[in-house]
């Protein structure tokens, strides 16, 4: 996560590890990139009203980031356009040299899932899904799309999932952890039903503009606080999914938490188990200790990887979470990119490395 571009030695091909990168960001040059798949009404809506969300600034994030386009300084395509907007450059800079066997796309703009106008949001999601296919997954078979859905209109979301089911351009459903309500609540269950029927995991990448302060303490001033509060979104999300009984209701549901880190998982699990045991009478539908549901149903991507003061403590963490539940991710082209060659500051044994860099994602997403 440096702000300068270092001239790094290229790793020789024979030492290269084939990886599955579970978080890559394709970018649009502007919302009008979606016009081929938007009705005329919505094309005009974008020009006239723009996006309409629950925050003060209409077109950018409320906490300005540390780098232009939240991206690596070297990720701007020489041909123009923002980082992540040009496939050949993504191939040259990331997919080829880093041995990416598969890359999971996470399309963060447009914010179809946080629009207050539900029809507009659903139209944006559908168009962005078409865009993922036409511009990315059909141009490079290594890339796999995520079906964007607007969680606040669950019926439309379920339809969007059903119409893409079986299409292997897509390997998961995408929603933001910050929804109007905690995502375990019943209003969202039609989405889980549709995902299970389509046999697709749900990937939740940090994002969402829901109007709630980024912490229960209120709105923070600084980006470091906002950045950290993504962990609390994930904690609230996991708590909600478990305590609402989502995994009792949908025993085949698989959840992937993307870019929320993972060091917090064991402590949250211990806390959930302790207080669930004390307050079970409030949640009789939660039949087993929360840790069991988490262990069975939830996966975590690695970036931005937490860096223990003593690097060996990372091994404890992997042991406690389960080495089969971690999915390597780079977050390309963003500024806090984790380089697969340097990400682990402690040696991992080969079998474990193979699982985290590739095997776990392969099994989860049903890839060859």
């Amino acid at each position: 996560m440096s702000t300068q571009v270092l001239d790094k030695r290229r790793v020789e091909p024979e030492t290269r590890l084939a990886i599955i990168d579970c978080d890559i960001h394709p970018t649009m040059k502007s919302l009008s990139d979606l016009n081929p798949w938007l009705e005329r009404r919505w094309q005009e809506h974008i020009v006239t009203y723009s996006e309409h969300m629950r925050q003060g600034l209409a077109k950018t994030l409320m906490h300005p980031r540390m780098q232009p386009a939240v991206s690596r300084g070297d990720a701007w395509p020489p041909t123009g356009g923002p980082p992540g907007s040009y496939l050949p450059f993504m191939q040259e800079q990331h997919l080829d040299p880093n041995g990416v066997q598969y890359g999971m796309l996470q399309t963060l703009r447009p914010n179809g899932n946080s629009q207050r106008n539900l029809d507009f949001g659903a139209a944006l999601c559908t168009a962005a899904n078409e865009w993922q296919m036409e511009v990315w997954t059909r141009k490079d078979r290594r890339l796999k799309g995520s079906i964007l859905v607007g969680q606040e209109w669950p019926e439309a979301a379920a339809k969007e999932i059903a119409r893409r089911a079986g299409n292997r351009d897509f390997v998961q459903v995408a929603m933001p952890p910050r929804a109007d309500e905690p995502l375990g609540r019943r209003r969202y269950w039609p989405i889980y039903r549709a995902a299970c029927e389509a046999n697709l995991p749900i990937g939740l990448h940090v994002s969402g503009t829901n109007g709630h302060p980024s912490s229960g303490a209120g709105w923070p001033s600084y980006y470091i606080e906002e950045h950290h509060s993504n962990v609390q979104s994930m904690q609230g999300l996991v708590t909600s999914l478990v305590m609402e009984g989502v995994f009792e209701q949908f025993p085949t549901l698989k959840i992937v938490l993307i870019e929320g880190g993972f060091a917090w998982v064991p402590a949250l699990t211990w806390r959930l188990d302790k207080h669930w045991a004390r307050m079970r009478s409030e949640v009789p539908h939660v039949k087993r200790p929360p840790s069991e549901y988490i262990r069975e149903h939830i996966w975590f991507t690695t970036q931005p990887i937490e860096e223990p003061e003593d690097p060996r403590h990372l091994i404890d963490l992997i042991d406690w979470i389960g080495e089969d539940r971690l999915l390597f991710s780079t977050d390309y082209p963003h500024w806090d990119f984790d380089d697969p060659h340097y990400v682990f500051k402690v040696p991992l044994d080969e079998a474990r490395k193979q699982k985290i860099f590739r095997g776990n994602a392969q099994a989860l997403y049903g890839l060859d």
Binding site: Y222, I224, G261, A263, H275, E309
Partner: protein
């Protein structure tokens, strides 16, 4: 493990038995207003600790009538005699801390503090207390802190972990200036004014979710205090996280330190990694520990915390965090236990040394 005699219990919860108990300590205006408006008949129970919830009162620590912690003799027999406690710090949680009306909140908090002095501290020398601060209004909070600080049995300022805005915001700095000047740590206790949902995920359905979310809320507060520069501005300030849970701390360190390296130009007054500020300025009470299933894992977490100075003994009486006598989890034995039980509390609360 069973606690040896002479420990310092840094978190017990006596409860104001009823609003009637506060009436003698209100001024004439508020006594009349409260009576006329029937406020003394309102149930000012707080959402953070429903009196009937299992967590709020251990079964053998519940009085036959009234809220857990409201029976003084029971509290004395169980929390003080029962554990052989040398000193115990009373942290009173009350609906006054939730109110929107600043003057009313300040009047009620003032009455609560007076009730604490007369009905708790005067009755048992082992008791000391936190000043219940009406932080809805910073000027009124500072006035209350200054008024109460003359009584050396008040050893700390008490605020809730989820207030109107993050606690590091400069809005609150007069409170820290007063606390530092008067030699009082600021105790941040689990609890919410419910101005906001417990997390950015929104309003959950169940109480157990709210309670679990406090731990994450403490992470946000620590980062707020650090990022805003509270510890740079008030180098002698001590902050105690009370009933916060403990085991989340290493993961907080690892993420906060890393992110700080990337974004430190946004907060240039933060000169050192966040973990270092926390180890220097922040202490945590041990109940609930939220311990992992095995002793070996807990030992490893303690190693990861990387300081013997940070943990303070607490029973959290009458909250139901453990059964029987073993208030101190077994892996915290030996030299570390001595630190937690006595030395760390004395180092954190200088006023205890005067007793």
């Amino acid at each position: 493990m069973t606690v040896p005699r002479g420990a310092i219990d840094c978190d017990i919860h006596p409860a104001v038995p009823s609003f009637a108990a506060l009436m003698p300590y209100l001024d004439e205006y508020w006594r009349e207003a409260v009576a006329m408006r029937g406020i003394d008949k309102l149930p000012l129970d707080i959402t953070s600790y429903p009196a009937g919830a299992p967590l709020a009162g251990r079964p053998d620590w519940r009085p036959k009538t009234g809220a857990p912690g409201s029976d003084f003799e029971m509290l004395r027999a169980q929390a003080l005699d029962g554990f052989g406690t040398r000193f115990a710090i009373c942290n009173v949680l009350h609906g006054a801390q939730m109110l929107f009306q600043d003057d009313m909140a300040a009047a009620f908090c003032g009455a609560i503090n007076e009730w604490i002095a007369r009905e708790l501290l005067d009755r048992d020398e082992r008791l000391c207390a936190s000043i219940v601060a009406p932080i809805q209004n910073v000027a009124l909070a500072v006035a209350e802190i200054e008024r109460r600080a003359a009584d050396r049995r008040f050893v700390q300022v008490l605020v809730l972990s989820q207030a109107d805005m993050p606690l590091g915001r400069r809005h609150y700095w007069p409170i820290y200036e007063a606390a530092e000047r008067l030699g009082l740590p600021v105790g941040i206790h689990a609890g919410s004014m419910y101005r906001h949902a417990p997390s950015s995920a929104g309003w959950p359905s169940y109480y157990v979710e709210d309670y679990v979310a406090y731990a994450g809320g403490f992470e946000n507060q620590l980062l707020s205090l650090i990022a805003e520069g509270v510890f740079a501005k008030f180098p002698k300030l001590k902050v105690v996280l009370i009933e916060s849970g403990v085991t989340w701390l290493p993961a907080f360190f690892w993420r906060a330190n890393k992110t700080w390296r990337g974004v430190r130009t946004d907060i240039p007054w933060v000169k050192r990694p966040p973990a270092e500020y926390v180890r220097d300025h922040v202490r945590l009470t041990i109940q609930p520990m939220d311990a992992p299933p095995s002793a070996a894992q807990l030992e490893r977490v303690i190693e990861q915390i990387g300081s013997d100075d940070m943990l303070l003994f607490s029973t959290d009486y009458p909250h139901w965090q453990f059964d029987g006598e073993p208030a101190l989890p077994a892996p915290l034995a030996g030299r570390l236990a001595e630190k937690i039980l006595v030395e760390n509390p004395l180092a954190t609360y200088p006023r205890l040394e005067e007793r």
